[in-house]
Amino acid sequence: MKRYTAPVIFIGLAVLVAVLLAPYTAEPEIYAISNIEEAGVFKNPIALKQISQEKTADLQPLMQDFFDTSGTIVLNVRLKNFEDAEEDLAEYRRAAQQFDHMVINLDMSESEIGEFRKNNAENLRNLEELLNDSVAFDELSQLEIQYRDADDPAKMYAIAYEGEALREKISQEFAQYKNHTTSMANTGKKIETYPEPMESSVAVFEEYVHEISDVQEERVEQEKQIGTIQEDLTLAIDPSSGIYADVLNATGTFSRTGDIPKGEPVTLFIDSRKNVTTSCTSAGGYTIPIPIGKMYAGIHLAYTRAGDVFSPLVPFTVSATEGTLTLNVSVKGDIAFASGTLSTEGREIPDAPVMISFVSADTENMTTVYTDDTGAYSCVTKLTPGDYTVQSVFSDTAYPVNECRSNECIIEIAQSYLIVYILLFMCFVGGAGYLFLRRKQGEREQEHPGDVDRAMDTDEYHAPATPPETEEREREHRTFDPTTIKDCRSRYLAERGELSSKQAARILGAGLTAAIAQYTAQECSPSETMREQTARLDEQCRHPAYLFVTMYEAVVYGTMEPEVDELLSVWDAAIQCMGEA
C-alpha cells in the first residue's frame, strides 16, 4: 500500500487540476481559429455565432396586419359595430406588443421602424380613444331622445355640451391619426407592405368626423331653439402646459343667479373623462389641481361641470421629456439581480413598466417589471450559464416620457461545477475514511493479533490494505530460522501455559512454515497462506501437514479449543514426515 500512496496522490492532484482547468478549455489561451473573429476586412464565420436570422418574414406580416386591422376598426366604428371594433382592437394590441418586443430586441428603436412603432402606438391609442368616444357619443344620442321626450331642457343642454366636447376630441384624434398614418404608410412602402387599407381608413375616419359634426351641429341648433338659460361657469388652466409631475391648476368661478350654496360640487373632465370632483366656495370659486402623471404627450381638452352648467372647453398641453433609466446588475451563482431607477427631469416615475432583457448568443429572456413609489425597479432572474447582455427599456406612450434605455451591462453566468465538487469531496472523504478505518483495524490487531491472522490466512478472504506495522510483525513470525524448528516445539511447550491457545498455535505454525521452507528449499513468501505453503509439499507430507493446518485454523479462528497436546501431536506428525527437515 505504501508504494502506491505517492502515485495515488499525484493522480488525485492531476484529476483535481484537470477539473479546475475544464472551464478554461472553451477559451484556450493559445491560437484557435474559432477565436479569430476578424482579420483585415472580413469576418470569420467560424468564430461568429451562426444565428440565421430572417426577421423580414416576421416583420412584414405584422406591419401588414396593422395596416389591415386599423382600416377595419375605423369602418366598424363608423358602422357602430362597437363589439367587432373592440375585438379587432384587442388583436391589434397583441400584435403591437409583439411588434414592440421585436423592435426592441433587434435594436431598431432609432430606425424608421422604431419611428413606425411609435406612430403605431399613437395610432392604437387614437383608435382606442375613437372607440370609447364613439360609444359615448352614441349613448348621448340615445339619451337625447329620452330627454327630448321628457321635455327636459337642462339635460338637453348638458347633452349638447358633452357632445361638443366629444366632437372636438374626435376631431383631434382624426388629425393625429391622419399624420401618423401618412408616416407609417411611407415606411410600410419601403418595407414592401401595402398600406392602402390604412390610407383608406383615413377617408372613412374623415367621413365619420363629418357625420359626427353634422349630428352635433343639429343638436346645438335645437338647443338654441329651446333657449336654455345661460349660466356661467368659467375655467382657466394655469399654466397651460407642463411636463411629467408638473401640477396644473384648473380654476374658475361658478356664478348663478341668486345664492350659491357653499360646497356646490364642481367636476373636472379631461378628454371627456371624469377626472376629479371638488367643491366651490360660497363665492363660487373653485381650484382643481391637475397633476400630470400617466397622461400621453399632446393636447388635452378639459372642462368643468357644476350640476347642469358647463364651462368652456379649455385645451392644455403635456410635453414629452427624455427619460433616464439606470441599471445595475449583479450575479450570484446562476441568479442575476437587476435593479435601477426610472426618472425624467430628475423626477422619479412610479408604477411604470420597465422591460428588462437578458440576451445571450442562444437565448433571449425578457421580463417586464413595474417601478415602485420611488421610481425604482428590480428583477431577479435565474439564467443558464453563458454571457449575457442586460439592458432595460422604458417605452409607454401613455406617459409623457420618451422611450429610454439603460446602459448595457455584460454579465457572465459561470458553469456550475457543484456536482463535480461534490463528487471530489465524496472521493476525498471516502479515501480519508478508508484510511482511518484501516488504521483503526491496525490498532485492533495490535490488541487482538489473532483476528488479523484469521483474516490473513483465510483463502476466501480478500485482504485489504495492511498497515505497515502489522505487516512487519507478520514477517517476524514467518521468518524463523529453520534451524530452530525444534526450538518452536520447546517454546510451545514452555509458553503454552502463559499464552492463549491462539498465540501458542501461532508458534507451531511458524515452526511448520520454517520446516516447509527448509524441506522444499523454497523461501515462503509472507503473502502466502499456510495452506498455500503446504500445497508445495509432496503428496507424502502434504496430508499430515494439511491435518495440522486445518486444526491450526480452527484454533486460531476461534472455532475450536484443542485438547492438551492434540495440536502438538499433529504438528509432530507433519514435521516427522518432512524428516525433521
Binding site: 476586412v41 469576418k43 464565420p45 444565428i51 436570422q53 423580414t56 430606425s111 414592401e192
Partner: protein, 292 residues
C-alpha cells in the same frame, strides 16, 4: 543494419523539413489569397476551379478563350493596360462573359474598361437579416432569373458592398440599410430597403455579371455556411460556365517576397525542369558517395 536505419531516419527528417519549408514558403495568410489555406483565403475555390479543369487565363490568351468563354476576376486591384482593356472589351462584345466579384470600387476600372454601366458602390451594407451575429453578414436573395442562380434560395455575404446599374440578380432583404456611420444599427438618416448585391447586363453578344462581395469566396464561407446556398453558387460559378480565371490583376494572385519567388518558379516550366534536375543530381551524388 543499424547504420542504414539511422541514415533512413536522417533522410526522412530532411525530406520532412524540406516539405515543411516549401509549404511554409508557398503559403501566406494574406486575405483572399489563392495560396492561403486558412479561413480567409480562397484556396478552396481555386482548387475547385482547377479540379473542374479551368485554367488561369491571361489577357494575352483572352482572344483565344472562345466565343462563349467566361473569365472570373476577383477584386481586380489595378487598372489593366490599355491594350488589355481593349482585349477585355473585345472579349465581352464577342460573346464572352465577364464575372467580377469585388467589393472595392477599384474594380470599377475593369467594368469601365469592359464597357459596362454597372458600378460597385463601396458602401457598408448591413441587414437585420443576417446569417451570423453581425449585421454585415448579410443574407441576400435572388431578384432575377439567371443560370448562375439555379437552385439558390439565399446566400450569406461577408462584408458586402452594393452595386448600381444593370439588372438586379440578387438583393438584400427589405430590412437592410447602408450603415453610413458604421455603428451596426440603423439610425439617423439611414433608411431601410432592398439593396442590390449582384447585377448583370448584356453588352452586344456578351455579358457582364458583378457580385459586390468577394468574401463569399473565402474558404470559411463555403460549406460552413450550412443554412445558405453559398456552396451551390460556387458550384454554379465553377461548373455552369466554360470558365477561366484571371491571375493578372485579381487580388488572390497578388504575391510578395518568397511567395512570389515560389509561385513564379512553379509557373515557369524551365525553372521547374532545372529544379527537378538539381534534386536528381544531388540524390545521385549522395548515392555515389555512399551518403545514402
Amino acid at each position: 543494419m543499424k547504420q542504414n536505419t539511422g541514415t533512413f531516419l536522417v533522410v526522412a527528417a530532411v525530406v520532412l523539413a524540406g516539405i515543411v519549408t516549401l509549404s511554409y514558403c508557398g503559403s501566406t495568410d494574406a486575405e483572399l489569397s489563392r495560396f492561403n489555406g486558412g479561413w480567409n483565403g480562397t484556396s478552396a475555390f481555386y482548387d475547385q476551379m482547377e479540379r473542374a479543369g479551368h485554367a488561369a487565363i491571361s489577357y494575352d490568351t483572352l482572344s483565344k478563350a472562345g466565343d462563349r468563354g467566361t473569365i472570373i476576376l476577383v477584386e481586380p486591384s489595378r487598372i489593366p493596360e490599355e491594350t488589355d482593356a481593349d482585349l477585355l472589351r473585345t472579349f465581352v462584345r464577342d460573346g464572352g462573359t465577364l464575372v467580377v466579384i469585388a467589393k472595392n470600387e477599384s474594380a470599377n476600372a475593369i467594368l469601365n474598361a469592359a464597357g459596362s454601366t454597372i458600378r460597385i458602390d463601396e458602401s457598408v451594407l448591413s441587414s437585420i437579416d443576417m446569417e451570423y451575429a453581425d449585421p454585415r453578414m448579410v443574407i441576400a436573395y435572388p431578384a432575377g432569373n439567371h443560370t448562375l442562380l439555379e437552385g439558390i434560395e439565399s446566400i450569406a455575404l461577408n462584408q458586402p458592398s452594393t452595386v448600381t446599374g444593370g439588372v438586379p440578380l440578387m438583393k438584400s432583404s427589405v430590412i437592410s440599410w447602408i450603415d453610413t456611420n458604421s455603428n451596426g444599427r440603423a439610425d439617423g438618416s439611414e433608411t431601410f430597403g432592398k439593396q442590390t448585391v449582384m447585377a448583370h447586363e448584356y453588352l452586344e453578344e456578351g455579358e457582364v455579371i458583378v457580385l459586390s462581395d468577394s468574401g463569399i469566396l473565402l474558404n470559411s464561407m463555403d460549406v460552413a455556411v450550412s443554412e445558405r446556398d453559398n456552396e451551390r453558387l460556387r458550384k454554379n460559378l465553377v461548373q455552369g460556365v466554360d470558365t477561366g480565371y484571371d491571375t493578372a490583376v485579381s487580388e488572390p494572385f497578388t504575391t510578395e517576397g518568397m511567395l512570389q519567388a515560389m509561385t513564379g518558379a512553379k509557373s515557369t516550366t524551365i525553372i521547374k525542369i532545372i529544379a527537378i534536375l538539381l534534386i536528381t543530381g544531388i540524390i545521385c551524388a549522395a548515392y555515389a558517395r555512399k551518403i545514402l
